[in-house]
Symmetry: none
Subunit: 291 residues, 4 copies
């Protein structure tokens, strides 16, 4: 409780550091994370030469110049801080992307009929790495409360890929959908501080769906004739769930439109298996219920 | 102080409402501003029929379906809330743009040598309108703490135009730069809550600079031969101030690059006036004052 | 008859309101639906100051300025009316799209082998909603006779989706094509006033054809081996009918080209069923009927 | 009055011909302008071979096929009629463009200091040609009442060019703006039937403004130092008039934004003339009034 109070106060103070306000008392806070430059700047010669050269002795004009100079010094700090923050975010994003790529490579072995537990084990080893990286990201964002969405673009596509990989692993393990809250839990995200954006989650799930037709094809090749029916049930429910949403975000809507093709492809594999009587035993129970 | 604390706490709680978390205790908070739909939805038939039809008797699978459905219901609410919020923001932005256009139209009379006080008076009438509109915007954003930058794109170009117009008015009145904090004050912005983004301020100032060459040309045409020198001093200082900044934002850098041409153009007018001896009297007086 | 005459006269008069003509006698008609602004505007200060300031004593030039101002006042009204009309159209279009999405969601259950009557019943519930919305649209367009095609782009893709859904429902119910006149009837459209554009109908039918391969695949999976033959007959006739047309509209031609793939896909399913002897009984009966 | 009544009735009937309705009584009207094909078609072999071949003797199925065939025959006529109409419109548009190009060529001589009356005389010779062409266009559109905006895209850019040329001629002759109603009069347009779209007029005026800076430059070169002031007054008023409008049409807004540069350029020429004392006599009267 005490911590919550403190971080809340901190949020209020720090929030205002986003906007220039030379007389604001939160100035001390800004100095916390860039003491070096605050010291450097005063020693630089003034760039205001047009007036300064003509009016060095003119006390009357000085205040204006000083105020202008002070304002732009502030801006310089802000822009530099923002740029270095972005640099740090990008560096972490790059590592996230790298870990995700490793996981995806491991997961692809599932298409070569390697046993699922073995495939998952390798990939799971990277989850702790991801946790650490997202923890780093959350720490960086903690320095600039209220600005999650200011830098969101710098980690969003990497995060969507993470969701996609985790959701595919989860499907392989449980044949069910990895929930939004479960992704946050796996990644050690604290939603009150640095959570998973809903649209990023949804986009990641769409990406995961793109892997399913290939999975179904390769499982059937390996003799698992029951897989298409299961995936079809899962994907049909997922598609129905997405249809509940009014998607106005163009990117997400486009990705969702792609899910239709995954569904159709899985239906076709299911059809192939069914028409050849290969799925007979597995589905006789289901058929009995339907008729 | 007490209020600040309360709103900070509220911010922390509400921040988490951005992310889906069906079991989260802040659920009550979400319901505060959309009770109608929460009541409507349960009465809708479930779209999850593929499993339901096959497994209607299977009690074990039901929870999964319910959790999935519940999660997407949440998403639907979130996306709809976000869309309607965006709708409201856009509507206010549109009004801001309209008021700014009126101010700009009034200001353009300055190019036809109308007396500055008269020109400013008309434009100033709209500042109260703008205050009201930015107050509306701040109220909307107050509903979603921590998401200023999520919707920032929906008011940023309009706000840049506002800065440009206000800064031009301020220059006409005082021959000095309108500071960031002064814009916030004029617009009634509370920087700890809904402030003026620094880059928006800087972009607006660049736009203002684009109006200066035209102003100088028309002033000289109207016989005011002292104007180029004054504007040149102002623009030179402003350009120097911008040069202090490490601009990595592509859009802002491009706009700043344009300021160079404004400066060059004003220099040329100043030169024309000087070389023809038109500014002699005017400037000898000014020079006298300075030396 | 009398009504027809009156609305025709009205159309002729109102048609001319599209074009600026300050002295035109139909001015009274324009005022009918925007009295508020016509009253507001005269109180605004004139923006035409350049001439006014220079020639305030010149009575000869005043008329020109007044005519110019009057013309642009008219334009302002026209453009604002047109913009608000468009706003209203888009809002109705959005509702049409939303109702269509609901219908489509219900219809998708047919791929999961739900009984057709049950599937149709749900979807049919929305037809009345659509009727109401198209009635709204027709009312809006009635305000601007002769301008159906001016705003056509604002409802056309939504209407194509409506045609697609209605035609699919009709096929499920009757195994035949929903005619153009039947769509108009279902939607309560009065072709002499607000009809269904032929190309929109044709495009909607192409969209419907895209759903058929998936339908056939899922019907066969569910054990209905007679479905491919029926759909193939229907689609073959439909494709032949489209081939009668000289399609120069690029969009429609492209959509029609897509129908070829639907046809091919359905043929392949029919072949699969046939070659495995699955359709033997089913078709021998049909063949028997035919020969 | 009698004529108005007749054409209004005709409009109502013909309007419905836009939409397919095989049983509609307006069929006779459609036949008026395509009797040839109506005769041709019945002799063609039926394209419905899938069913027809199998069921030629089956009277039970015939009605469906006949209805389908009949509908698509109708569509074929409609699409062919629409295509040939468009062909005719484009051919007239092409001639309009050609006549406008001739006029523009003649007008360009004004930049070489040819006397204005001489320059105008040549260009005026083409106005009768344009009248004839627009009369042709109106006649074509009269065949499809209520569809002005369906084909509008096929003559709009040509019409904008016509407006631009006529407005420039009018400015040369009168130093004032050619009004919308005056364009219609010059082109013999009857606004109750085939008028000039407001946005086309406005776009044409923007194009005209683009010719003014060059005109001013060349007039000054030829020693006419009074021209910049006059054009500046004209363009300032025109610009102010446009600013009254809420332009949401992107194309028109962009063209209007361009007018700002024309204004600035003319201001600069005016400035050049003024600063060199070349305009002294001409403007002493204006200056006297201002100071």
């Amino acid at each position: 409780m005490k911590t919550a109070f403190r971080s809340a106060i901190c949020a209020t103070l720090a929030f205002s550091s986003r906007f220039l306000n030379p007389t604001h008392h939160c100035h001390s806070l800004i100095l916390l994370y860039r003491p070096r430059r605050a010291a450097l700047f005063p020693s630089k010669p003034s760039p205001f030469t047009s007036m300064a050269s003509a009016d060095s002795s003119d006390a009357a004009l000085s205040p204006t110049i000083h105020v202008l100079e002070k304002q732009f010094e502030e801006f310089r700090h802000q822009l530099d801080d923002s740029a270095s923050l972005r640099e740090r975010i990008r560096s972490v994003s790059f590592e996230i992307e790298s870990a995700t790529r490793l996981m995806h490579s491991s997961l692809m072995l599932v298409h070569q009929s390697r046993p699922i537990p073995e495939v998952l084990e390798k990939a799971k080893g990277q989850i702790d790495v991801l946790r650490g990286l997202f923890c780093k990201l959350a720490e960086i964002i903690r320095e600039c409360p209220g600005q999650y969405y200011r830098y969101h673009g710098d980690w969003r596509s990497e995060t969507q890929a993470v969701v996609s990989v985790l959701a595919f692993m989860h499907y392989l393990e449980t044949e069910s959908l990895l929930l939004h809250a479960e992704v946050e839990e796996k990644l050690g995200l604290n939603p009150s501080e640095f959570g998973l954006d809903t649209e990023d989650y949804l986009t990641g799930i769409c990406f995961m769906s793109n892997d399913l037709p290939r999975y179904v094809v390769n499982r059937v090749t390996a003799g698992d004739y029951d897989c298409p029916r299961k995936v079809l049930t899962f994907l049909t429910d997922l598609h129905a769930a997405f249809r509940m949403l009014n998607l106005r975000n163009d990117f997400l809507r486009k990705k969702f439109d792609g899910m239709k093709y995954d569904l159709r492809k899985v239906e076709e594999v299911h059809y192939d298996v069914k028409i050849r009587g290969l799925a007979t035993n597995a589905e006789s129970k289901g058929d009995g219920e339907k008729s």
